[in-house]
């Protein structure tokens, strides 16, 4: 068999395996959410253990204060516990919904601080993604390492100027106008780079499943 065909088959098998792992994880998450809605504490613990390590990592990255990050994550999980019906399975995955709640709170917190500009200066886009493999104390769920790899690859696949804007916005907690100021770019340029980058990311991350 030609090498190219062999590589294609391996790539297909790998993609199929990743999709199955993602589906399995999502099905488990949705089951946990159903149980949480019924007041099942074990299910709540299960979801917390699955996603708190990433949620805290995200909150720390944006808010840049460990204790504040913990509070943000606690608030997000409490909101989930209090109102699990807010999650609509028809609109997306549990993990994205949960990370969205964490991110929203983290951005909200950091925007309220008058020292935000100083913090933003410390947030270098270049240190966002390129990190060696996870901390030893973290137990990864099936599928999570592959997802990490997929998301990082999608980000790395963006043109540098689009990646820079998206990373400053999402991980740095900066608004488009702040980014324009910081990079000394017209606001319209920042907006167009955001849209083009997000279209690519959406195709790479969401398009592969839908």
């Amino acid at each position: 068999m030609p090498d190219a065909m062999l590589l294609d088959r391996r790539r297909d098998r790998r993609a199929t395996g990743m999709a199955m792992a993602t589906d399995l994880n999502e099905a488990r998450d949705r089951d946990l959410m159903r149980r949480i809605a019924a007041g099942d504490e074990d299910a709540f613990r299960g979801l917390f253990r699955r996603y708190a390590p990433t949620a805290i990592s995200l909150a720390r990255r944006v808010a840049r204060q460990p204790y504040l990050a913990e509070e943000i994550v606690q608030e997000a999980f409490l909101a989930l516990w209090r109102n699990p019906e807010a999650y609509d399975p028809g609109r997306g995955s549990v993990r994205s919904w949960l990370m969205g709640m964490v991110h929203h709170r983290a951005v909200d917190a950091v925007r309220r601080e008058e020292s935000q500009r100083r913090r933003a200066e410390e947030a270098k886009a270049s240190d966002v993604v390129v990190v060696e493999d996870p901390a030893e104390a973290v137990v990864e769920e099936v599928g999570a390492p592959q997802e990490r790899e997929t998301v990082r690859a999608a980000l790395q696949g963006l043109p540098a100027e689009q990646r820079q804007v998206i990373e400053l916005m999402y991980f740095g907690g900066l608004s488009q106008s702040r980014i324009a100021e910081r990079l000394e770019l017209p606001l319209g340029t920042v907006k167009s780079r955001t849209l083009l980058g997000m279209r690519r990311l959406r195709a790479a991350l969401v398009g592969m499943e839908r």
Partner: protein, 232 residues
Amino acid sequence: MRDHERIEELMAARALGGLDASDEEALRREMADHGAGCAECRRLEDGYAETAGRLAFALDPVPVRDGLEEEVLARARTAAPEAQATGERSGARSWLRPLVAVAASVVLFAAGWAAGSLTGDDDPTTEGARVVAFEGEAAGNLAVAFRPDGSGMFLLGSGLEAPPEGKVYEVWMFQEGTPVSATCFTPSAEGTVFTFVDVELGPAEAMAVTVEPASCPGAPTTAPILTADVVA
């Protein structure tokens, strides 16, 4: 068929947390123009929200502090009966009722504050910290926590109603009778706020909250809806 370029641009940026107040307003207008039944709008909104949520997984996970899971669960156990027994989600509450939710936040914030100091973070300790609750006609609970001899304060709240469209809540410190803006905020969708405000409380004798335009003006334009005496 409607053009969705503009709304897509705004939704993509919002999913990343990148919109300014003016663009948030622009998005609200666009969504109103397109209508609640706009299927393409919903598809775009869901797609970008899903995309942004996935970006979190580019980060390495971090170990969860021992005890955090139990703390969250303890708070959840406290929260659930309150919501179920009263049916309250964000409705009006009397300020005379105990500040249960705020107190819970304060305790946990204080623990985090102390933990931060122990781990060498550049944060104040809880020693001598004061918690002052606002009073007034508005729904919900709001308090500030600060050290009289320190810099900055935490603003904590729950059960707060969203300000009118295009408005924010602005917190003022009265220093020698003059209102000085401390911060502007909008509660989360669940009616909560928890944020550190990096200001010098200094000689402030009182604080107040007003409803202001999203531009967060430098002087109050409306009467206070909440007030707090800061002087011990």
